[in-house]
C-alpha cells in the first residue's frame, strides 16, 4: 500500500484516473492547482488506485491524502 499526499496546499484541478484503475510508476494521477501552476501528482510506484478520496475543485492542505495505491 502506498499513500500519495499533497505536497503543498492548493485545489484539485483535474483527476486523470478513476478508482480501480491500474497505473504505472510516474503516471499522472491528478493535477493540483497551486501557486498558479498546474502541478502533476504522479504515482510513485506502479499499482491499482484503491482509493481516490478527492474530487475536482476540492481544496487540499499539504499532507492531504490524494490517492492510495495497492
Amino acid at each position: 500500500m502506498h499513500d500519495v499526499t499533497a505536497e503543498l496546499s492548493g485545489s484539485v484541478w483535474k483527476i486523470l484516473v478513476a478508482e480501480g484503475a491500474t497505473v504505472a510508476a510516474n503516471e499522472e494521477i491528478l493535477i493540483l492547482e497551486s501557486m498558479k501552476m498546474e502541478i502533476p501528482v504522479v504515482a510513485p510506484v506502479a499499482g491499482t488506485v484503491a482509493l481516490l478520496p478527492v474530487a475536482e475543485g476540492d481544496s487540499v492542505d499539504a499532507g492531504t491524502l490524494l490517492a492510495r495505491l495497492c
Partner: protein, 522 residues
C-alpha cells in the same frame, strides 16, 4: 639486549600485525556481517596509494585487576593517500576498537575531532577525506583518566579553519553520534549510506532525557538526514557508492583555495546546440517541467552531479563542467513548491553558494522562481530570514555569476539569483517572464480598494490586469537594457562558455582565502 637489525625488524613486523588486526577477528566479523567494511578496507578501496601515519599507536588492554592482557591498535587510522592521482589527507575511525571512540589514551589525536590528519590537510594544503563511524564521547575514557573534563577544553579551530582552506569530504558509514556527528557536518560535502545513523544523542540518551522510545533510524536515519534535516547532503545505497561520490565531488574541486579547480576534458563541442530545451520547457506556462534536464542539456555531457537532491527540493544544486571548467549550478525547481524559495531551499542554496565562492567555481543560476514561499508554514519556518540570508550569500560570493532566466522571476527571491553590484550578467530565454510580483495577486493586493469600490469589480480587476500584463512584456525590459541579453535557448552553452572562459582571467588573479570566509549570517 644489544641492538641487531634482525630483531629490530622483527619487532617492526610484529607491531604491524597488531595494527592490521584492528579490534580482532570477532569485531571485524561483526562489522562485515552488518554489511560494513573496516576502516582499512575503506581506505584500500578509495585510494590507489596510502602511507600510514601513527600505524603503531595503540593501547594496552587490561583486565579488571589492572594486569595487561594484550595490545590493541588505536581507534583511528590515518595517513597520506592518493585518490585519482591527487594527494589527500585520509582518515577514519576504526569501529572495531572502542566503537571508534576518541583516542584519549594517546599523546596526540590522530583524527576525528582535530588531530594529526587535520593538521596534515592544513599544513600541506591538501583535501581532507574522512570516513566517519564512531560514538563520539566515551565514558570509559573518563574512568581511565580519573576525572571528567569540559568539552570546551577541546578546540574546533582547525576543523573550522579547514573549511576556508581545502575541500573537506566525509562519508558517514555506520553510526556517528555526538562528537563524530558534529565533526561530520563540518564538511563541504557529505554522504551517508542507507542503514547508517547519525545523531546528537542516540536512543538510550533520548530515553533518559525525554522518556521517549525511538527507533534509531527514525531518530537519525540516513533517509531522514538527507530529506528532512539536510544535515547530510547525499544518500547512497552502499559504501562503494559513497566512495564513488566522494571521488566525483573531489574532481570538481581544487587541492586548496590557492588554486583554480582542475579543468576537465573539452570533448563536448562548446557550440553544441541545446535543442532539447525547446522540448523540456512546455509552451503551457502553467505546466512545470524537469529543470534538471534543462541544466544537464547545457553543461558538458555526463558532467552533472547533484548535491543534496532530496532536501530543500525547491532548489537544485549541482556540480558540472562547461567547456571543461568546473561550475556550480543552482536551479529553481518548478516541480517542488512551484519553485518558491522556502527556508530549507534557501539554506541549501546558501551552503552551495558559499562552497562555490570558497573554491572559485563560477555559478550558473537557472531562474524560475515565483517568489519566497508564502503561507503559514513558510512564515513559521522563518522564510524571510532564510531568504535574505540567501541573498546575502550571493552578494558575498566572490565568483562570476551567470544568470539564465528560464521562466518566472518574481519578488524578493529574484535578488538571490544575481548581484547588481557585481557584473550582474542576466541572460533571458524568450520563455522568461518577470516582475515585482505576479500580476494576478499583485492587482488583488495593490488595487483592492478601487476594485471593491467599482460597480463591476470583476471587470475592473480584469482591465487593470490586462493593462499590467501588456507592460510586463519581457521584450520591453530587454529593450530598456533591464535584462542584459535575450538569446535563443539553443545557443546557451556557447554563450555561457564564452563568458566563463573570459572570467578565468579574473579568477586567476583572485585566488586564496575568501575575504569573507564561511560567515555567520544575521
Amino acid at each position: 639486549m644489544s641492538f641487531t637489525w634482525k630483531s629490530a625488524l622483527e619487532k617492526l613486523s610484529e607491531q604491524r600485525k597488531v595494527a592490521e588486526a584492528l579490534g580482532g577477528p570477532d569485531r571485524i566479523e561483526r562489522q562485515h556481517s552488518q554489511g560494513r567494511l573496516t576502516v582499512r578496507e575503506r581506505i584500500a578501496r578509495i585510494s590507489e596509494d596510502f602511507t600510514e601515519v601513527g600505524e603503531f599507536a595503540g593501547f594496552s588492554v587490561r583486565d579488571s585487576s589492572g594486569a595487561e592482557v594484550g595490545q590493541l591498535s588505536s581507534s583511528y587510522v590515518c595517513g597520506l593517500a592518493t585518490i585519482d592521482g591527487r594527494q589527500v589527507a585520509l582518515g577514519g575511525e576504526d569501529f572495531t576498537v572502542r566503537a571508534g571512540a576518541p583516542q584519549t589514551y594517546l599523546d596526540r589525536y590522530k583524527g576525528g575531532m582535530g588531530g594529526f590528519v587535520e593538521d596534515l590537510a592544513h599544513a600541506y594544503r591538501i583535501p581532507l577525506v574522512m570516513f566517519m563511524e564512531g560514538i563520539g564521547g566515551d565514558v570509559s575514557a573518563q574512568d581511565e583518566v580519573g576525572h571528567s573534563y569540559l568539552v570546551s577544553s577541546m578546540s574546533w579551530k582547525r576543523s573550522l579553519e579547514l573549511l576556508g582552506e581545502v575541500p573537506v569530504l566525509v562519508a558517514v558509514l555506520g553510526s556517528a553520534a555526538g562528537g563524530t556527528a558534529g565533526r561530520a557536518v563540518l564538511s563541504h560535502f557529505s554522504v551517508i549510506s542507507s542503514g547508517s545513523v547519525m545523531f546528537a544523542g542516540g536512543p538510550p540518551v533520548v530515553r533518559r532525557a525525554l522518556g521517549q522510545d525511538v527507533d534509531k533510524h527514525e531518530l537519525g536515519g540516513a533517509e531522514m538526514h538527507t530529506s528532512v534535516s539536510g544535515a547530510i547532503d547525499n544518500l547512497v545505497a552502499d559504501e562503494d557508492e559513497a566512495i564513488r561520490q566522494m571521488r566525483t565531488v573531489l574532481s570538481y574541486l581544487p587541492q586548496n583555495v590557492w588554486e583554480l579547480p582542475p579543468r576537465g576534458d573539452r570533448t563536448d563541442p562548446v557550440d553544441r546546440s541545446c535543442d532539447a530545451i525547446l522540448e523540456i520547457i512546455p509552451e503551457n506556462r502553467r505546466r512545470p517541467y524537469k529543470m534538471r534536464d534543462a541544466m544537464a542539456e547545457v553543461v558538458d555531457r555526463d558532467s552533472f552531479f547533484e548535491m543534496g537532491p532530496d532536501w530543500g527540493r525547491a532548489v537544485i544544486t549541482a556540480f558540472a563542467r562547461i567547456d571543461g571548467i568546473p561550475v556550480g549550478l543552482i536551479g529553481n525547481n518548478p516541480m517542488h513548491l512551484a519553485g518558491a524559495l522556502d527556508a530549507a531551499a534557501a539554506e541549501k542554496q546558501i551552503r552551495f553558494t558559499d562552497l562555490c565562492s570558497t573554491f572559485h567555481l563560477p555559478i550558473v543560476h537557472f531562474v524560475d522562481v515565483p517568489g519566497f514561499m508564502v503561507g503559514p508554514d513558510a512564515e513559521r519556518g522563518g522564510v524571510v530570514r532564510w531568504g535574505m540570508r540567501a541573498i546575502q550569500a550571493l552578494v558575498d560570493a566572490e565568483v562570476p555569476i551567470v544568470t539564465i532566466h528560464v521562466r518566472k522571476a518574481y519578488g524578493m527571491a529574484v535578488s538571490a539569483t544575481s548581484d547588481p553590484d557585481d557584473l550582474g550578467l542576466r541572460i533571458a530565454w524568450p520563455s522568461a517572464e518577470w516582475g515585482d510580483m505576479p500580476i494576478e495577486g499583485g492587482v488583488e493586493a495593490g488595487f483592492r480598494r478601487e476594485v471593491e469600490a467599482s460597480s463591476d469589480p470583476e471587470k475592473f480587476r480584469r482591465e487593470i490586469e490586462e493593462r499590467m500584463l501588456a507592460a510586463a512584456d519581457p521584450w520591453k525590459t530587454v529593450e530598456a537594457f533591464g535584462m542584459e541579453m535575450m538569446i535563443d535557448p539553443r545557443e546557451t552553452r556557447r554563450v555561457v562558455a564564452d563568458f566563463l572562459n573570459a572570467s578565468l582571467n579574473a579568477m586567476n588573479t583572485k585566488l586564496g582565502r575568501r575575504e569573507k570566509p564561511w560567515t555567520l549570517r544575521p
